[in-house]
């Protein structure tokens, strides 16, 4: 199974999008791991560090930044109150894109979709609701498959970043309705936009949930 980052690289190559990766960013974190557990100092430290690096490596905000996990995008987009004054100013200049924005607005228009899938199903993560990108997610489905379902019972999977690892009962209970619904019919692919949510849904449904990057990579031509 190929990793998410490989799909991302492939998509950029096919779409002729210049891709920059820096060492500093590749060791950064959105801080959700600390904030969700209520560790304020650690969270504030982390987001300030990250915004500094993002500002520097994006050429003072001139290069759009793409995050490959929607819940991290949402956390980062909401970090402004915890930033120092300088970092707040820098933050305001950043263009932070979620993977869904990137795929829908940048990648798909530049790609040729040569082999759309038959019928796929999405698990919209909570942040999709909060960021208001459900429409874009649907448009990705529309472009990449003949039918893309969003289950009626789609809801929070209870992973909460990592909480589900320690309280598996929470995730099990949370995913039951949705996975029952999904398992009513076979799909040619199962996709979402946050790794931990994909794990939770895979555990629950018995199918491999993958990043939508994987879907886009597979259906697009070189």
């Amino acid at each position: 199974m190929e990793d998410t980052y490989v799909s991302f690289g492939n998509i950029c190559k096919k779409a002729k999008i210049e891709l920059v990766v820096t060492n500093g960013i590749s060791t950064s974190c959105c801080g959700q791991i600390f904030s969700s557990k209520g560790f304020a100092d650690a969270h504030h430290y982390t987001v300030n560090q990250t915004i500094e690096k993002l500002f520097r490596d994006s050429n003072n905000g001139s290069i759009p930044i793409v995050l490959d996990v929607t819940s991290c995008t949402q956390t980062l987009l909401n970090c402004r109150p915890y930033l120092s004054e300088t970092n707040q100013q820098h933050f305001d200049q950043l263009k932070i894109l979620d993977i869904i924005d990137f795929v829908a607005d940048m990648a798909i228009p530049r790609l040729t979709i040569s082999q759309p899938k038959d019928k796929v199903v999405f698990h919209p993560v909570c942040s999709v609701h909060k960021l208001g990108t459900m429409g874009k997610l649907k448009s990705i489905g529309f472009a990449c498959a003949k039918q893309a379902d969003i289950p009626v019972f789609a809801g929070c999977c209870g992973m909460a970043g990592d909480r589900g690892f320690y309280y598996p009962g929470l995730t099990e209970a949370a995913t039951k309705r949705e996975s029952n619904e999904v398992n009513q019919q076979p799909y040619s692919g199962y996709y979402s936009t946050s790794k931990t949510c994909e794990i939770a849904m895979s555990e629950a449904s018995g199918h491999d949930y993958q990043s939508i990057l994987k879907l886009v990579d597979e259906v697009s031509a070189d």
Binding site: D3, V20, R163
Partner: protein, 730 residues
């Protein structure tokens, strides 16, 4: 102990008898508060039968609850509470969606979702449909904007399966059950024949019943069933509708559905005063409008700052009122025709603005947002420590305007500021929202006087109904006789006594000896903290909560916070401390802080944020310092994590893919700290691998890739951070 006794008939995990369970279920959306002895979750008819038997043998009160969104206090009890919300969720469209089979725990909106592909929906349309469940919808005979008096549960019921307090189960679908009813429950069968004769022989009563149901009315039992049906089993099935869980347990219903008309034309009509607006209703009804929603000046003012609301709202005349009008049809041509026919009617009305109608779904959504945002807006802005009361009267449509003015006068007389009046004018149904404190006896006395004046107005002056939609509950049980008259009340009393002679099934609701039911067991709202103080305990959040079927829901998390404060105020710190202890796991640790609750909260509470704050307050300095240390050394942590991840993969290679999964699963059970290794984890990705992606594409676009840490090294780092933090706790 009651719980031990119950273990003979229910599995332990579905008997919730800890303090936290009892306090969590003491609240529903109403302004009443009773702490149940314990909570049980029966999952099938057999268990319900055993519960009835238990209740009878032990003389224990029993109350069923679906979503707990009732306003009138029919869903709270100090006896045994049977919660249906986690089970009983089947919904099956039948006959190409012409009918639908439902269980009591399915949410109303999910029934409509299931019917959507047939172009149908169910008749009842309470505004709470995204949260409330069929058990409640049927038992309250709920209705909303469009349903009127014809498409409610009573009129759309096709079949009902129910369990009587005597333990017998009947299904009106089965011919043999009609015979069985006569032989096995003969006392009830005979009693119903007598009641039926009594109703039909009483001409005055017959006329009264017919008159009452020309308008929306949910006070008392649906005794129109004595006029509408012949066989005692059919009569019984229809009084169970609207029976507020006092007559039987509803196990399943089959409802006739109605077409879901896809073409809509929506607009707002503005008038100089409430009287002119209400006087227009009769004419507007002739246009065939599906919805005619009245809003008074205070209602309009309550939403004038909402995004998208037109600026002229602020400059409307002091008494201006509006009517939201919607036409619905199955085809566009029919819709346009209906609308064209309405135009001459509009022309004759004393409107103060040009009518502005639209088929545009966004514009329509805004109008409905305005209408539906009124109660939340008043609720959200109410003073801390108060409840947001929502009254629900019905008046004769032709006197609606006078009624609005009379209510406004009572607001003034009793000094209720910011009271707003709105409602389903088409059916003479007016809601009004006020905020009310029950903290002191003076508050309660004040409320009682206001209430007495109101009820007198509705009943004596207008011969209206005290509850058009929300059902009798504790709020108006003591007034059923006054509203209906002694003959009707006697029928209702006899009916309850026939079916539940020991008065153990949700007692005190509909029929009561206590003339002060409406001011007993009032819910006191202590001032706790920001999120908690805003909450109206409506329960709209519950369906979205990932821990709903596991431990608690946002509403319950808040209800228990309030309970702790109440206990503190009364000096019962021992009970409070037990609650705090039990809250640790149920309330704090198993909240996913995902914040999805906020997406359906009418007053914008994110309980996840509350829990995060409580977690912050829970941490010691040492823990905070360790967390900060980890944050500062994140790259190091990441490296260590990756090594442990790789070791995990190595073991997996040696022992098979599920090896680590199993091992960590076991370890987690022992220590509770090691995250469950998941077989779905990917191998960690190094910074070098990521860097290799950089391409020199001279394309039209350029992006900086931020691969989130959970994609780079999932699992391992989480494990390490968690372990450090847990250890530092001890």
């Amino acid at each position: 102990m009651l719980a031990d006794e119950l273990e003979k008939i229910l599995p332990t995990e579905r008997i919730k008898a800890r303090l936290i369970d009892r306090y969590a279920y003491a609240s529903d959306a109403s302004h009443f508060y009773l702490i149940p002895k314990l909570v049980v979750q029966p999952i099938n008819i057999d268990e319900v039968q055993r519960l009835f038997q238990f209740s009878h043998q032990r003389e224990e009160k029993l109350t069923f609850r679906a979503a707990g969104t009732s306003f009138s206090g029919q869903g709270v009890t100090d006896g045994i509470l049977a919660d249906l919300s986690n089970y009983w969720r089947h919904v099956t469209p039948e006959q190409s969606g012409k009918t639908v089979r439902v269980q009591p725990g399915v949410i109303g909106a999910h029934v409509n979702q299931a019917l959507k592909k047939y172009g149908r929906k169910m008749g009842p349309d309470p505004a709470s449909i995204n949260a409330c469940m069929m058990g409640g919808i049927l038992s309250n005979n709920s209705s909303g904007m469009c349903c009127g008096v014809v498409n409610n549960s009573y009129h759309t019921l096709k079949h009902l399966t129910f369990v009587l307090p005597n333990g017998q189960v009947y299904n009106t679908e089965k011919a043999e059950d009609y015979l069985r009813f006569e032989s096995e429950s003969n006392d009830i069968f005979e009693g119903f024949i007598k009641l039926n004769n009594a109703v039909r022989a009483n001409e005055e009563l017959t006329l009264r019943i017919r008159k009452k149901y020309l308008q929306k009315n949910t006070v008392g039992y649906c005794i129109n069933s004595f006029l509408d049906f012949e066989h005692p089993l059919d009569i019984l099935a229809h009084v169970i509708i609207g029976g507020e869980g006092t007559l039987a347990f509803i196990a399943e219903a089959v409802l006739n559905t109605i077409p879901d008309l896809p073409y809509k034309m929506t607009g707002m009509l503005y008038f100089e005063s409430p009287e002119t607006a209400c006087n227009a209703i009769a004419d507007l009804k002739t246009t065939g409008a599906e919805a005619l929603e009245f809003m008074d000046r205070a209602s309009l003012r309550s939403v004038e700052d909402m995004p998208g609301v037109p600026s002229f709202f602020k400059t409307l005349p002091v008494q201006a009122s509006a009517i939201l009008c919607e036409f619905q049809e199955s085809t566009e041509t029919a819709l346009i025709e209906k609308y064209q026919n309405a135009l001459p009617v509009f022309d004759k009305l004393p409107l103060i603005r040009e009518p502005d109608f639209s088929q545009d779904s966004e514009k329509q959504a805004l109008l409905w947002k305005i209408r539906k945002g009124m109660y939340p807006s008043v609720a959200g802005m109410r003073a801390k420590g108060t409840s947001a009361l929502l009254e629900d009267f019905t008046f004769p449509v032709e006197r609606l305007g006078d009624a609005v003015v009379d209510i406004q006068k009572l607001f003034e007389k009793h000094n209720y500021k910011n009271g707003i009046i709105f409602g389903h004018a088409k059916d003479g149904n007016l809601h009004f929202a006020v905020s009310q404190s029950f903290l002191t006896q003076a508050d309660i006395d004040h409320y009682e006087k206001f209430n007495d004046d109101l009820f007198e107005l509705v009943i004596d002056k207008y011969d209206g109904s005290l509850k058009g939609e929300h059902s009798t509950g504790r709020a108006v049980s003591a007034f059923v006789e006054k509203e209906w008259g002694p003959d009707a009340y006697q029928i209702m009393k006899r009916l309850k006594a026939l079916i539940d002679p020991k008065n153990l099934l949700n007692p005190g609701i509909v029929i009561t000896e206590d003339k002060l039911t409406h001011i007993h067991h009032l819910k006191m709202m202590p001032i706790v903290e920001e999120e908690v103080d805003r909450c109206i305990e409506c329960g709209f959040c519950e369906t979205h909560c990932p821990s709903r079927d596991f431990t608690m829901t946002p509403r319950r998390r808040i209800a228990v916070r309030r309970a702790m404060k109440r206990l503190e105020m009364t000096g019962d710190t021992a009970t409070r401390d037990t609650l705090i202890k039990e809250y640790q796991y149920d309330g704090m640790e198993t909240c996913a802080v995902d914040g999805m609750c906020a997406t359906s909260c009418p007053v914008d509470i994110n309980t996840g944020e509350l829990i995060k704050r409580l977690r912050r307050e829970n941490h010691s300095n040492l823990q905070n310092r360790i967390a900060l240390f980890l944050a500062k050394n994140f790259p190091l942590v990441e490296r260590t994590a990756k090594i442990s991840l790789k070791m995990g993969f190595f073991s997996n290679r040696l022992f098979g893919k599920n090896f680590m999964h199993g091992v960590t699963w076991g370890l987690r059970k022992i220590s509770g700290t090691i995250p469950r290794w998941s077989k779905h984890l990917d191998k960690p990705v190094s910074a070098r691998q990521l860097a290799s992606l950089s391409n020199g594409n001279e394309g039209s676009a350029k992006v900086l890739y931020f691969s989130a840490c959970i994609n780079r090294m999932l699992g391992g780092y989480l494990c390490i951070i968690w372990q450090y933090l847990q250890k530092s706790k001890n």
